[in-house]
């Protein structure tokens, strides 16, 4: 998929653990792990809203579009 989720990058910048984030936004660690690895099918606006609120960031900080060719080289 061309959409890359940079949740781990934002978490590292905020020095927050996944478990802490999970408790803050009431989404399970499993689901956040799936989201972090880019294995989710879709993300709800409510989830995106909660993430941006807690992590004090913009949706563009979490989601990045990478063209398929660039992703292969990555």
């Amino acid at each position: 998929m061309a959409i890359v989720v940079n949740l781990d990058v934002v978490l590292a910048k905020r020095k927050m653990q996944l478990k802490e984030l999970s408790e803050a936004i009431d989404i399970s660690v499993v689901n956040l792990s799936i989201l972090k690895k880019g294995k989710g099918k879709a993300i709800r606006f409510s989830t995106l809203d909660a993430l941006c609120k807690i992590l004090e960031c913009q949706p563009g900080d979490l989601l990045e579009y990478v063209a398929d060719e660039k992703q292969k080289h990555k």
Partner: protein, 165 residues
């Protein structure tokens, strides 16, 4: 135990009628007690993974099963946790798990038509991906009336829906 007991009660009534008309108590008792014993045994054994082989054996003509295989690009360890979550959130009841071999045993609810079926979920690691083997089987009934097919389809649909986070 819910409504299917009515069917068991009906079976007992037939036993009483058979005695009345034939006068043979032993044969009538055997004829109607045997399926009841098999059913009760099945209801007890269904709860543990170690008795799974009993229901899935090719020699067991009293049960019906349906297997579907899917692939997922989620790693096996994460998939195991995710499928447990799917079971708890959906209309399935968790019965048993084997974390070492990545096997989950769940069941569907009983209703008027069925005692519920078991769903055995086996996760097979395949590098960064995983293969999901879903097997739905009846506890007592050599034909599932498409319930096994519906169960595997419903479970996988619930899993796919849960990937919308």
């Amino acid at each position: 135990m819910k409504i299917p007991l009515i069917l068991t009660g009906f079976t007992y009534s037939l036993y009483i009628i058979a005695i009345y008309y034939t006068g043979e108590t032993v044969i009538s008792l055997l004829v109607f007690l045997l399926p009841v014993i098999l059913l009760v045994s099945g209801l007890i054994l269904r709860k543990k993974l170690k008795y799974n082989y009993f229901f899935l054996s090719r020699l067991n003509f009293l049960t019906d099963s349906k297997k579907e295989i899917y692939t997922s690009d989620i790693s096996s360890d994460l998939l195991f946790e995710k499928l447990l979550q799917v079971i708890l959130d959906a209309d399935f009841k968790l019965l048993d798990t084997d974390e070492n071999n990545l096997i989950i045993l769940a069941s569907t609810a009983a209703n008027f038509l069925t005692w519920g079926e078991n769903i055995c979920i086996r996760i097979l690691p395949d590098g960064e991906q995983a293969v999901i083997e879903l097997t739905s089987y009846t506890i007592f009934g050599s034909y599932s009336w498409k319930r096994n097919e519906h169960n595997t389809e419903n479970f996988y649909n619930a899993f796919e829906a849960s990937l919308i986070i």
